[in-house]
């Protein structure tokens, strides 16, 4: 009885948790923007936002693929290595023009995705193990291809991807926006998306319902790696150089964080595409805020860790509320 009367005045703990589960990442973004509005000079300049969005693009694109994989109750640690591989092949083919270069880079990603997906779907290797192996071997292969050298990329077409804008909006941001839209439609409006989510929700039930579980898993890993390759091309274009030794280092962690913070549970069965976008933007704003207040980068990483913990705690609450 007392509990009932209390809950009339104060929203119950689970209701509060529920709001945070649904809108937590957006609330956090708004709070952070408000903070910056008051305390950070020039944060609300158009140039600053353009810079922020350009910087978030690689993580965002990788996170889109990661969200699909996590939706199937998987994980892909090899995305950073795929970015490095994409970067490594660019100097070899850049002479053929932009489109062939792009196709080859994405093709390399797709092949790595096939490898990951085959191990997971057909051999039954745990995703974390399969992609960890590919993560290590992939970067090694990238360094071999590049002869462990940094090569500058001078093709104006490729560089334009990272530096030029149309109507004030950078190409890279446009590409990312289109990809967000495509993945959102894929997840919410297609048979494939629904089947993917069902597999993450209950793989056994999906199998018994006659879903092509293995094929879908394979495609999901191919998509994830292909998106990582796109991120690799954009990253290379921005740097103006192919740097397979460092490009995409630890990006898998940022991507996973963006996905989880955005409300997609690691236990699969849900994919929040807009949440993932918001998660990536939130991470970017946090590090930008800290940088603008001259907080060392190390603190930014610690902040990221705290956010992961909070997000996972809220997700856990969700499982319990159910």
């Amino acid at each position: 009885m007392t509990q009932a009367t209390v809950s009339l005045r104060v929203p119950s703990r689970s209701a509060v948790l529920g709001v945070f589960q649904k809108y937590g990442v957006y609330i956090a973004i708004v709070l952070l923007l408000l903070y910056n509005l008051v305390f950070t000079p020039n944060f609300f300049a158009v140039d600053n936002f353009r810079t922020q969005f350009v910087q978030v693009v690689p993580v965002l694109i990788v996170a889109l693929g990661m969200a699909l994989v996590i939706g199937t109750e998987g994980i892909d640690l090899s995305v950073g290595a795929v970015m490095a591989l994409a970067a490594a092949v660019i100097p070899l083919y850049v002479g053929y023009g932009l489109v062939p270069t792009l196709l080859i880079a994405i093709g390399v990603g797709a092949v790595i995705g096939l490898l990951n997906g085959s191990m997971v779907a057909f051999i039954g290797v745990q995703p974390i193990v399969a992609t960890l192996a590919v993560m290590v071997a992939g970067r090694g292969l990238a360094l071999l291809i590049a002869n462990e050298q940094l090569k500058s990329v001078t093709s104006p077409e490729v560089l334009a991807l990272g530096r030029d804008s149309v109507l004030g909006i950078p190409y890279s941001v446009l590409i990312a926006a289109v990809l967000v839209g495509v993945v959102a439609i894929l997840v919410n409006r297609t048979t494939f998306g629904k089947q993917l989510i069902a597999i993450g929700g209950s793989r056994r039930a999906a199998e018994l319902a006659g879903l092509p579980v293995k094929r879908i898993l394979l495609i999901v890993y191919v998509l994830c790696a292909s998106l990582a390759a796109v991120a690799g091309v954009i990253g290379t274009a921005r740097l103006g150089a192919s740097v397979p030794s460092t490009l995409g280092n630890l990006i898998e962690l940022s991507a996973i964080t963006a996905v989880v913070v955005g409300g997609t549970p690691l236990s699969g069965g849900q994919v929040k595409v807009l949440g993932t976008l918001a998660g990536a933007v939130l991470l970017q704003f946090i590090s930008a805020t800290l940088i603008k207040h001259n907080v060392p980068d190390a603190y930014s990483q610690i902040a990221q860790a705290i956010i992961i913990l909070v997000a996972v705690y809220i997700q856990r609450g969700k499982a319990r509320v159910k």
Binding site: R189, I197, A198, G201, S202, E207
Partner: protein, 512 residues
């Protein structure tokens, strides 16, 4: 094992008195008494949920009883942990051998009590010699230095048994020990059991295989709903009576009609839609052939472990078959493939609705359309309009109680979840519907609705196979009943033969 020993004269080695055990308010065991005497071999019988495994876990220290006590050699004993029970001489042999597969046979036998040399190192030579001698007592000749996993399963089990007995066991509990053994290995096991009994070791034997029970055991304790319903000598107990006690159906007064919501006879004389020939899979089912006509409900009878569910899994492509195949309307169906079976029109409602049926995080709508999704799409894009047409129809027709189709399926009651599962398959317009325990765990009202629905679907021409552990459901719902025992077809009951006493007799496998 026609042993002349009279168990009544031996002193009790293990006793349970008034043992009661509850889990979250549900009573699993209620005032259970059990007396096991030296050299006795007792069959512990009961169907699903009777409390067998709980009782075994209490006897072996995995669970502690809330009321009642255990007596070991007449003295009260408390097993706080499994190790306490083991030290006291109560050992368990599970169906899956729980030893260390990569270690040698000898190491497994002496794990934790290896013979030591003077400086405290393991004396391997003595250990190997001891192990060899020990196994030789049971007539087992193996290289004791080989890793355990390289041996046949039956031999592994014998090693487990030898280990248990060499740790000074007075009581050995065997839980389905033969479920994965070859016929020859079973014989070895039985010989060893005989040897153990001659040494005065008492055995509790749990198995679903009637023939084994009657060969190996001399007494029987029957559990039902957590209570002991019968204790006595096994050889004087006809099989039919044993089975009816397990199922709680009395042989003499068999009620007729009115128990379930089934009305129609569910018979048909159309040509068969599904023909299955010689379905076989090692240790599961052996040579099962059957045919089903449109509009017919065929019951699949059998005790737990008889191969009922496995037969459905073989038919629906869920289980890979070693031999045999299925045809639909004369066309053969690729075996071992669920999508192929579904395309051919065979669909199965799985027994474990929660783990294998519903996708809990999805809505009722998404669960209903899960299998039919490609059909309800255009060019790979889902069509809300097409989905709604199907979803609304089935929610109405099956009376699924939902606040909206977008409600999470996990929020529904068991009965409504089951209806969602049936809707999922009806949306595929199947030819054959396989139902594995369709009314288990759902409330009485929903149960009647599901039963009435089965009638209705059969009337509309669907061929239905019904597996149920409730005798009256099988008898009243089916036009004929195929009775399985130990993975093979025991007999088939047709027409007037389909009644409870005939089914009980067939389940028991006695020549009645």
């Amino acid at each position: 094992m026609t042993d002349a020993r009279i168990p009544g004269l031996e002193p009790p080695v293990l006793e349970a008195r008034g043992v009661t055990k509850r889990f979250a308010g549900v009573t699993a065991l209620s005032g259970v008494d059990l007396v096991l005497r030296a050299g006795e071999s007792m069959a512990l019988m009961g169907e699903n949920g009777a409390g067998k495994s709980t009782l075994i876990k209490v006897l072996t220290g995995v669970h502690q009883p809330e009321e009642g006590e255990l007596l070991l050699d007449g003295r009260p004993a408390t097993f706080a942990r499994p190790l306490d029970a083991q030290k006291a001489g109560v050992s368990t042999i599970y169906q899956e051998v729980n030893l260390v597969p990569l270690m040698s046979v000898a190491q497994n036998i002496y794990l934790g009590r290896e013979p030591r040399g003077q400086v405290g190192l393991i004396d391997f030579r003595r250990m190997y010699a001891d192990a060899r001698a020990l196994l030789a007592e049971y007539g087992i000749q193996v290289d004791v230095r080989r890793p355990l996993r390289t041996l046949a399963l039956g031999v592994q089990q014998m090693v487990a048994l030898a280990r248990a007995v060499s740790i000074n066991a007075n009581v050995v509990i065997m839980d389905e020990p033969t479920s994965s053994l070859e016929a020859r290995e079973v014989e070895t096991l039985f010989r060893v059991i005989g040897l153990l009994r001659e040494r005065g070791i008492a055995i509790i034997y749990v198995s679903h295989r009637m023939d084994e029970i009657y060969r190996v055991c001399d007494t029987v304790t029957v559990l039902r709903d957590g209570r002991v319903v019968h204790v006595g000598s096994l050889s004087e107990l006809p099989r039919v009576e044993l089975v009816s006690m397990m199922l709680g159906r009395s042989v003499e007064k068999v009620e007729r009609g009115g128990v379930t919501a089934f009305r129609a006879a569910n018979e048909s004389d159309a040509p068969p839609v599904l023909v299955a020939t010689d379905l076989s899979r090692k240790h599961q089912i052996d040579g099962i052939s059957l045919s089903i006509r449109p509009g017919e409900v065929v019951g699949l009878g059998g005790l737990l472990g008889s191969g009922r569910s496995e037969t459905l899994k073989g038919l629906s492509g869920v289980m890979q078959l070693d031999r045999g195949g299925v045809t639909i309307d004369g066309k053969s169906v690729r075996s071992g493939s669920v999508p192929a079976a579904i395309r051919a029109g065979i669909v199965m409602l799985p027994e474990d609705r929660k783990a294998e049926g519903i996708v809990p995080n999805l809505s009722v709508r998404d669960n209903i359309v899960l299998a039919a999704l490609p059909k309800l799409s255009r060019g790979g894009f889902t069509s809300r309009r097409k989905q709604d047409a199907v979803v609304d129809v089935f929610i109405k027709r099956l009376h699924i109680k939902v606040s909206s189709p977008d409600q999470l399926v996990s929020e529904l009651s068991g009965g409504n979840q089951q209806k969602v599962m049936i809707a999922r398959w009806l949306a595929m317009t199947p030819k054959v519907l396989l139902l594995d325990e369709p009314t288990r765990g759902i409330d009485v009202g929903a149960k009647a609705e599901v039963q009435a629905l089965i009638d209705e679907l059969a009337h509309e021409g669907l061929a239905i196979v019904l597996v149920s552990s409730e005798v009256e459901e099988v008898v009243e719902g089916s036009a004929r009943v195929i009775v399985l025992r130990d993975g093979s077809i025991e007999t088939e009951l047709r027409g007037d033969q389909v009644d409870e006493s005939a089914l009980l007799a067939a389940l028991a496998g006695s020549a009645s």
